[in-house]
Amino acid sequence: MTAMPQLEIEVRDGVDRETIETVQAMAGKYKYGWETEIEMDFAPKGLNEDIVRLISAKNDEPEWMLEWRLAAYRRWLEMREPDWAMIDYPQIDYQDIYYYAKPKSMETKPKSLDEVDPKLLATYEKLGIPLKEQMLLAGVEGADEPRKVAVDAVFDSVSVGTTFQAELAKAGVIFCSISEAVREHPGLVKRYLGSVVPPSDNFFATLNSAVFSDGSFVYIPEGVRCPMELSTYFRINAENTGQFERTLIVAEKGSYVSYLEGCTAPKRDTNQLHAAVVEIVILDDAEVKYSTVQNWYPGDENGKGGIYNFVTKRADCRGDRSKVMWTQVETGSAITWKYPSCILRGDDSQGEFYSIAIANNAQQADTGTKMIHLGKRTKSRIVSKGISAGRAQNTYRGLVTMHPKAKESRNYTQCDSLLIGDKCGAHTVPYIEVKNNSSRVEHEATTSKVDDDQLFYCRSRGMDEEEAVALVVNGFCKEVLQALPMEFAMEAQALVAISLEGSVG
């Protein structure tokens, strides 16, 4: 065995050269790296009060919304970019970004999906997200009744269209773009927007509050079980453009919704900023499942290009017995800075966080969750699986806090890291704060490499290296994959295999 020419990876027992070459070859294989050629309407580059006004005007917003944005912008000017995460990236020039980009054909909002620019429809078709109200999901074609998924498709700064709106409206569910919600449902938006992630929350959330252009709004009325899964698909297309989407989900008493989120972007040499905010309000006995497959362009094998993903996601379990479940599969982005959190305010409320974060090549991920136990008998569970390969750095960062009043609460945290290759890093930074004695907190973390014995066993049963690795890694991720809705689980499983095929050492 000889050393690899490009990367000085020492070939270890149990890995053959082919395996490493496959991983290196995988590096360039980003499936969604193509670009849609479409005429765009840009706001001038840079950020100032006029840009904030312009975004607000483009969205036809009422005065209060503009004031809200401007207050956030002024606040943002006084804030400093956080530097505590274990990520390293060149200074972001906030004046060198387009804050608003919209396809010209979207100048007047299409009344129905039939009127949407075919180029845009084709884009989503190619991404595997057909914007038709007859969506058949991969793997469930044979089912008697096809499962429906309503989709809100966001392209750069605007929502292109939302499917199944009429059918959802029959159930009383509101599912539309946030810009539409500001106009059509100002009462609800005014009441809940910023109530979970206040405009002054953190540097990136404040920036988002000032310049968010679109995103999704979901309102599930009392006692309604949303008749289908809702999803938003985010696509960054235009160059030098930041995407700042804002999602607000309100689940009234006794309601239920499962929400899916997907995202991709073209391959480019330059980095692009994505700073989103997701707020979820959950009232008594309601339940929200939020699943993400984050597959933004990760940059090439040398770390050139890729999305800088700085995201604030938080669920507020305001009601008693309310429940939230975050599931994320993070495979994309050059930089990931993301901590979907749960405020367990209602008594007996529950929060769950399941995460798979894969960092390959030069990717850097600093991700985790916060479980803030305020109510009595609240429960939380964290299962985090981090996989590092190439020269990537992957950090789990989490906080579990038991307030003095959160009597008889319970947390269980498990975070496991897997290292593939000796040039990468895996880190765990948990904060555990227990302020009463009737609560129990348990935290476990392990770091290891893929077990040679397991690989050997699989291979001795006739599997080739690829299959054996896929099996072992899928076993490692099992608990998280199981938490995903079926259609996402399949996509996620495939993604895990693609990102790591054969890269085990």
């Binding site: 270890r12 040039k423 948990p430 904060y431 555990i432 227990v434 004695n437 476990e444 770091t447």
Partner: protein, 428 residues
């Protein structure tokens, strides 16, 4: 980034009354430490590294008053152990109370007597402390190197005939002691160092330990029960190939205790264990902050920290395992657990892993909760009275930490002190 003015001001105020010795081999190292310190300033509550412990009483110009505890209910620590005793009273060496520092296999001298001559400790004094300033700054240890008034320099050249015991007596309500020890264990040598007592109203201590190839170092310490005492201690250790380092600390009460251990496993096949048992009943804070760096291959590190807290006591654990690139076959283990005996107490933990090598096994666990009701019920159903049953379960909880003490007689001494504490504090 420029140093915040408040940190510089706090430093200037703190060191205004302190001075460097005029001459002696330690002076250059002290000057370097002072330069390091000027670049850091004093730690403050907002520093991430002081997230759970407010350092203001440690950085204040003068210590808060602390009365010595007249402990008639407890035999002096390590009383039954055959040892060489060196006594400090409020940080001042007490020759009359100390044994003659002559011991087979060991050379002992004092920092305060550092002359202009060549001394082995010159290559150690401040050196490990300086290495320990990155990636996290520990200004209080640099302050110690610069201004330590005394300390013991121990070099083990063979297996020491008996343990060296440092006894810290606290007499004055306002004493403010700064001691700095250097310990060098030569290749194949073995040494046990015992430390006991509250030392002073405020105590800042640094111990630098250099263990050469195949050397073995044991450290057992019990920190005094004086309610109002405050202490910040640092152990900086460097381990060569196949060496062994084991440290155990029992902390009982004390207003504030911050024990930092910064260990570097440089050689291959080295072993480092650091353990602590802390018991607090009342307004006490115990902070164990550990940073273990694995650089050699096939090294083993173990951190075992147990805290029993009641009536508002706060337990803090910050532990980190850093595995450097190339430190393959590392075995790192870390456990931090707390038993909260009532609702007023708190446990705050930040157990970290930072790993840059793939063929390693590292794990950490942390739990917090009340006494296991089922176990309590079982004991009571067998006729064990409530308080005894509780004490039994608490001792069982602490046992894993005490098991880190290899010497049986020393382990027994620690165990009996722990039982004594439980007996005194078994009420609500």
């Amino acid at each position: 980034m420029a140093l915040p003015q408040a940190k510089t001001d706090a430093l200037e105020a703190r060191i205004a009354g302190l001075s460097l010795p005029a001459a002696g081999w330690s002076v250059p190292a002290r000057k370097e430490a002072l330069a390091r310190l000027s670049g850091m300033g004093m730690p403050a509550k907002r520093d991430e590294y002081w997230r759970y412990t407010d350092p203001s009483s440690l950085t204040a110009v003068s210590p808060k008053a602390a009365a010595p505890l007249e402990a008639a209910d407890e035999a002096p620590a390590f009383d039954g152990i055959d040892r060489l005793t060196l006594v400090f009273v409020d940080g001042v060496f007490d020759a009359a109370a100390s044994d003659d520092p002559a011991l087979a296999g060991v050379e002992i001298s004092r920092l305060a007597e550092a002359g202009p001559d060549i001394h082995w400790a010159r290559d150690l004094y401040g050196v490990l402390e300086a290495r320990g300033q990155s990636p996290v700054q520990r200004p209080l240890s640099a302050l110690n190197t610069a201004f330590a008034s005394d300390g013991i320099l121990i070099r083990a050249t063979a297996k020491a005939a008996k343990p060296v015991s440092l006894v810290y007596v606290h007499k004055s309500d306002t004493s403010d002691a700064i001691l700095h020890h250097c310990i060098k264990v030569d290749a194949g040598a073995e040494l046990t160092v015992l430390e006991s007592g509250p030392a002073a109203a405020r105590f800042n201590k640094v111990m630098e330990v250099d263990v050469a190839e195949g050397g073995r170092f044991h450290h057992i310490r019990t920190q005094g029960r004086d309610h109002d005492r405050r202490a910040v201690t640092h152990i900086f250790a460097r381990l060569a190939a196949e060496s062994l380092f084991k440290s155990f600390t029992l902390t009982a009460n004390g207003r504030l205790t911050r024990n930092e251990a910064v260990l570097e496993l440089l050689g291959d096949d080295a072993v480092a264990h650091v353990a602590g048992a802390a018991v607090g009943d009342g307004d006490f804070l115990h902070d164990d902050t550990v940073f273990i760096t694995h650089q050699g291959e096939r090294c083993e590190s173990r951190q075992v920290f147990k805290k029993v807290l009641k009536n508002g006591a706060v337990g803090v654990f910050q532990g980190k395992i850093l595995v450097k690139p190339g430190a393959q076959k590392t075995d790192g283990y870390q456990i931090s657990q707390s038993l909260l005996l009532d609702d007023d107490s708190q446990f705050l933990a930040k157990p970290e892993l930072e790993i840059y090598a793939d063929d390693v096994q590292c794990s950490h666990g942390s739990t917090s909760g009340a006494i296991d009701e089922t176990a309590l019920f079982y004991l009571r159903s067998r006729g064990v009275p409530m308080r005894e049953a509780q004490a039994l379960l608490v001792l069982a909880f602490l046992a894993e930490a005490i098991r880190e003490i290899e010497d049986e007689a020393l382990a027994d001494d620690i165990r009996s002190r722990m039982e004594g504490w439980l007996n005194r504090h078994k009420g609500a």
